[in-house]
């Protein structure tokens, strides 16, 4: 079982600034994430969930505690990124406007340790595009600004389909898109897990979405994980008042939400 | 925001009111018809009016040879060569001593008499405080003695035979050194523990004790205003009891050449002593000069191209002579100098003015190269073994010396921004290159110019030696150009402040002792024929060796005047005073003869 632990955090803390200006973003957090899991990190703005995601991605290292990836500390970020990849919030901001989509998808292969041949790269890009329901011909020679937000978000996912990393960290990939695109993205996340057995960390403020995709949910509040568990347990039988609040605050069509 | 608005409104209203009040008011200004506006001496801010301060630091009219506030013993008339009386009268001068009689009526503005005590005070300052400016005393004058004959004081300046043995220089001093009131400055010295530097810090700008016809009443950075002293002692003694005509003399301080021409033409300025290009174009605006036709001005000084006599190929006499022959002097005058330079004749003696008597055309032609003769120059170069090399476009590439080595290009230095000299240098370069001498312009920053001059760090350099037209010209010119008295090698960290081209190295086999001998002898020669013979001999040596190149004869000081307000200026047709502004030397006589225009 030990080998199947992807991330192992023991009492990690991360703070910014010094002295009196010190802001704690992650405070004494511990968890293990197993291979093949989809774990959602849910919380309001400023709860520290994005920082936690960045720690997992190796962009930050915790100030305290031990954080291990596959039982080892993250030392070489390049090595780390060959296995742990990410999709970001703003699909427009993620691509360089000056290069074609395809070029940038191909550029992504730079992170892989074993260099692939040109043909192999092309094949995998085509495959990935098909995986997100885009015909390779449709984006041939296209630049990011020629696509819509939904398409762009798909391109980010296509990048993941092409790279096939072990772990995907998806930091609020749905917060800037309309409801219908949102559903799409969640679909692809499930597909990544189902087809490629990827471990996925899904960061969101919407517990509804988390419930929909996850195997496990961490509720974060003020830099701490206040509740963790299976989605059904967390949503049906919340233990922590913050979880309750998060659940209540979502306007659900079938539930009384506010007095009119 | 509201506050900002209020401020803005206030400022606008105020400034509008300010602008509305702009009408020219006559109120506190001095009346134009009693005022003579003269300009061109003071360019910077006036600082001190203390006559004991170094002349380059003191303000007009206390500096230089301006005789409006303080006066010398005698004044030199550059038209006639006479030494006219001022505070004293020249009684006699010979090779042993110079005797001056004090004017018994001369008195200071505080009523005290001007006496030999005042004379001795100023002349002995140099010895007393080792002051560089008044230092000539020891070198030139061995002693000053005073005799009283018939209640008149006779001051005798004894020539220092042991040192410089130069009575001419003493004559120069007598008209250059203005007498300051000894009783005033002895008091200042006593007040300052005999500290000369502290005494020099006194500005003497409030009710100064003066002997001259005008005195300082106000000054600032814009102008200096003098007012007539109606009780001036000289009015009775020197000017038949008449008063100088203008009640005020104002020296506006223009720091820009432009302002002179504009104000002369507008009638705001009556006369100036600065260079104004194309003066003939301003004639229709009432601006006149000594002559009505070129050269307009009276030539008095020579501008030179100094050559580094210690550096090949300029150490070669023939090369130097070729340079002198190659230059087209007429073109330079026409193009660069608004025709202010008369026809160029070779040598260090000018063919005009008082020096003309020493000028011997036949000798000059015999010894000089023909000027402006390019063919001659080319031939001379060829004969001396110099060979120009041209590229396929017929542009000069370089020059070969007699042993076939390529000569470094000869750089002609001039301070950048001195546009007339720059123009001269540009033309000289063009002319030299056309005879096959590889010359280039080398315009340098003023600081660099002044540094490289005494250290000898140049090939050729534009230079006007600081020589005034006095009793000692043209000896002083020969001395400045040829003297090896203080010869030191070039670029060795030692400076020479005369003969910067380092001609006639005393330790060189080619040394010509005759030059120094003649320079020493001339001040002592009394007989005019002998004097001419000596000058001609020295000039011939100069022409043969051509250690520097005279480029043009220009006026020592420019003198242009406007007849819009004042008339009666001295000119070629009415030469009652030398071509100088009415403040220099005897030029001040003009002040007693001016009239208001239209009267």
């Amino acid at each position: 079982m030990q080998n199947d632990i992807i991330f192992s955090a023991k009492n990690i803390s991360k703070y910014f600034g010094h002295g009196k200006k010190r802001v704690c973003a992650v405070n004494d957090v511990s968890f293990d994430i197993a291979d093949g899991e989809i774990v959602s990190i849910v919380g309001g703005s400023g709860c520290g969930k994005s920082v936690l995601a960045k720690i997992m991605l190796g962009l930050y290292s915790p100030n305290q505690g031990s954080f291990l990836y596959k039982g080892k500390q993250i030392t070489n970020t390049l090595d780390h990124w060959s296995e742990v990849q990410s999709v970001f919030q703003d699909p427009f901001g993620c691509f360089n406007q000056f290069f074609s989509i395809r070029t940038q998808l191909k550029d992504a292969f730079g992170i892989l340790k074993n260099k692939l041949s040109k043909q192999e790269v092309d094949r995998r890009v085509d495959e990935a595009l098909l995986a997100v329901n885009v015909k390779p011909a449709d984006i041939e020679g296209k630049y990011p600004f020629e696509l819509s937000g939904g398409q762009m978000q798909r391109m980010l996912l296509a990048r993941i389909f092409a790279l096939k990393p072990k772990v995907l960290i998806a930091d609020e990939p749905t917060s800037m898109v309309d409801a219908c695109v949102r559903a799409n993205i969640l679909d692809y996340l499930m597909k990544l897990k189902d087809e490629l057995g990827m471990t996925i960390i899904f960061v969101t403020h919407d517990i509804g979405l988390a419930y929909y995709v996850s195997d496990r949910i961490f509720i974060m509040h003020e830099a701490k994980i206040v509740e963790a568990g299976k989605p059904e347990e967390v949503t049906q039988n919340p233990q922590n008042p913050h979880t309750v609040r998060l659940l209540e605050d979502i306007p659900d069509i079938n539930r009384e939400w506010i007095k009119k | 925001m509201r506050f900002m608005k209020k401020v803005a409104c206030g400022v606008f209203v105020l400034s509008f009111a300010f602008l509305m009040s702009c009408e020219k008011k006559e109120g506190g200004s001095i009346p134009r018809n009693e005022t003579l506006w003269l300009a061109g001496s003071q360019w910077g801010d006036p600082n001190t009016f203390n006559p004991l301060v170094e002349p380059w630091l003191v303000a007009w009219p206390v500096n230089d040879r301006f005789n409006l506030m303080y006066e010398p013993l005698i004044a030199y008339n550059s038209l006639t060569g006479a030494n006219e009386p001022m505070l004293g009268t020249l009684i006699s001068h010979d090779t042993e001593k110079i005797v001056v009689e004090m004017q018994p009526e001369a008195e200071w503005s505080d009523g005290k008499k001007v006496t030999s005590t005042d004379v001795k005070f100023i002349y002995e300052l140099g010895r007393r405080f080792s002051h560089p400016v008044f230092s000539g005393f020891g070198e030139f004058i061995s002693e000053i003695t005073v005799d009283t004959v018939n209640a008149k004081e006779l001051v005798t300046f004894v020539v220092n035979k042991e040192d410089r043995n130069n009575p001419l220089a003493i004559l120069d001093m007598l008209q250059a050194i203005r007498i300051a009131p000894a009783h005033v400055f002895e008091q200042y010295l006593a007040d300052n523990d005999n500290d000369f530097n502290k005494t020099k810090d006194i500005k003497c700008d409030k009710d100064p004790v003066v002997s001259g016809p005008y005195t300082l009443i106000d000054y600032n950075n814009e102008r200096i205003i003098l007012k007539r002293r109606d009780d001036y002692w000289g009015n009775k003694v020197l000017y038949d009891g008449k008063l100088p005509v203008p009640k005020y003399i104002v020296h506006p301080i223009y720091k820009n050449n432009d302002n002179f021409a504009v104000n002369l033409q507008k009638g705001n300025l009556d006369a100036s002593m600065n260079y104004i290009p194309r003066i003939d174009e301003k004639r229709k605006e009432g601006v006149s000069t000594w002559y009505n036709a070129p050269p307009y001005y009276v030539p008095g000084s020579i501008h030179f191209l100094y050559l580094n006599n210690t550096k090949a190929p300029l150490s070669d006499k023939n090369f130097r002579r070729a340079v002198a022959a190659a230059i087209d002097y007429a073109a330079i005058s026409r193009r660069a100098l608004s025709n202010y330079a008369p026809e160029m004749k070779p040598g260090l003696i000018m063919h005009s003015g008082l020096e003309k008597k020493f000028y011997d055309e036949a000798e000059v032609v015999k010894h000089s190269v023909p000027l402006g003769d390019k063919e001659f120059a080319k031939k001379l170069l060829e004969q001396s073994g110099y060979k120009p090399v041209f590229d396929d476009k017929d542009v000069l590439k370089h020059t070969l010396d007699p042993s076939g080595n390529i000569l470094q290009p000869i750089s002609i230095k001039a301070p950048s921004g001195w546009s007339d000299w720059e123009s001269i240098v540009k033309m000289v370069v063009e002319q030299l290159r056309s005879v096959g001498i590889d010359a280039r312009t080398g315009f340098v920053d003023g600081g660099q110019y002044w540094t490289s001059l005494p250290s000898g760090d140049f090939d050729m350099i534009m230079r006007k030696p600081p020589i005034a037209v006095t009793a000692s010209t043209p000896w002083s010119r020969f001395n400045a150009v040829l003297s090896s008295r203080n010869w030191v090698p070039a670029s060795g960290g030692s400076n020479m402040y005369e003969n910067e081209g380092r001609y006639n190295n005393p330790s060189d086999p080619s040394y010509n002792p005759r030059v120094e001998e003649l320079l020493k002898a001339i001040p002592l020669i009394v007989d005019q024929d002998s004097l001419k013979a000596a000058y001609v001999e020295l000039n011939n040596i100069f022409l043969e060796d051509q250690p520097v190149i005279p480029v043009c004869h220009l006026p020592e000081e420019y003198y242009q005047f406007s007849t819009k307000v004042w008339v009666g200026w001295p000119t070629e047709k009415s030469p009652f005073a030398p071509p100088q502004l009415p403040w220099v030397g005897v030029g001040r006589n003009t002040l007693w003869r001016l009239e208001l225009a239209g009267k």
Partner: protein
Amino acid sequence: MSKILEVKDLSLHYLTRFGQKVHAVTDVSFTMNQGEILGIAGESGCGKSTLVNGLMGLFIPPLYPTGGDVLVSGESLMNRKPEDIRVNVLSQKVSMIPQGAFNALNPTRKIKDIAADVIAAHGSGQSVSKQKIYERLKERFDLFGMDTEHILNSYPIQLTAGERQRSVIGISTLLNPKVVIADEPTSALDVTTQKVVIKMIFELLERNIFSTMIFITHELPLLRHVAHNIAIMYAGEFVEYGTSTQVVHDPRHPYTKALMGAMLSADAGQKHRKPTTIEGAPPSLAKTMVGCRFAERCPSARPECKQKTQSMRMVGERLVRCDYAE
């Protein structure tokens, strides 16, 4: 129940910098009675924000009315001088709660000054003392149950996101407007703050500060709780218009259906329900369009949809812009 707002076949267009004409709103009609809350939902770029300007009578170039009319309490907003609109309509008859409260408040002005500016802009001409204005503001802001003194005397940057949003709401409703248009007032907030803000709006409604509101958002579930009626907007047109229960629980237009299908919630039983997705993107409004504007993306599109322009018709007690909806 009186008609407060009547919109008749309103069409709006604006010009891009290079002269392209964009028909942002086409033939929008609806009526609102006193006390009614209408929700308008749609994807970004569907013309919601342009519609807002039209409803306020702000036809500032490059925005122009193409046709139709807007009546507030029976008075038309069309063909009126901007100054007339400013003095008589804005803030008093129609007011607006914009999205992104942080940027909506002048960063160099204190909240009380911005509010005072609103009062001054619509005053009767005589100046009111600062003290009186302040008291009036305090009274109003006290309704929100916040630290009024602190908020009024602060610059926007010194306030939290929620405080700012509430300040904006306070300022927009200061003059008891007849109609309030809330344009995505909560879309930049997290779910918790969103609820606080909505509660506040309801507080104002309850106190009769204002009673009629248009609420614009792309979150249908939210509208379900806020609005009485819901209009779904697509490519500049209303495609479905009915009560919130009808639209949310029983959508008829294919687009509304798709939107609803894409909604997810944390309810039990929702887990692993396959959400519907809509492929493609809305059409460009700069082109002249023929046929149903949703036809390109419609899962139940028929060939004739692309030719035949659809118009609103009654289907199951609500208006639907689809000839084939049932």
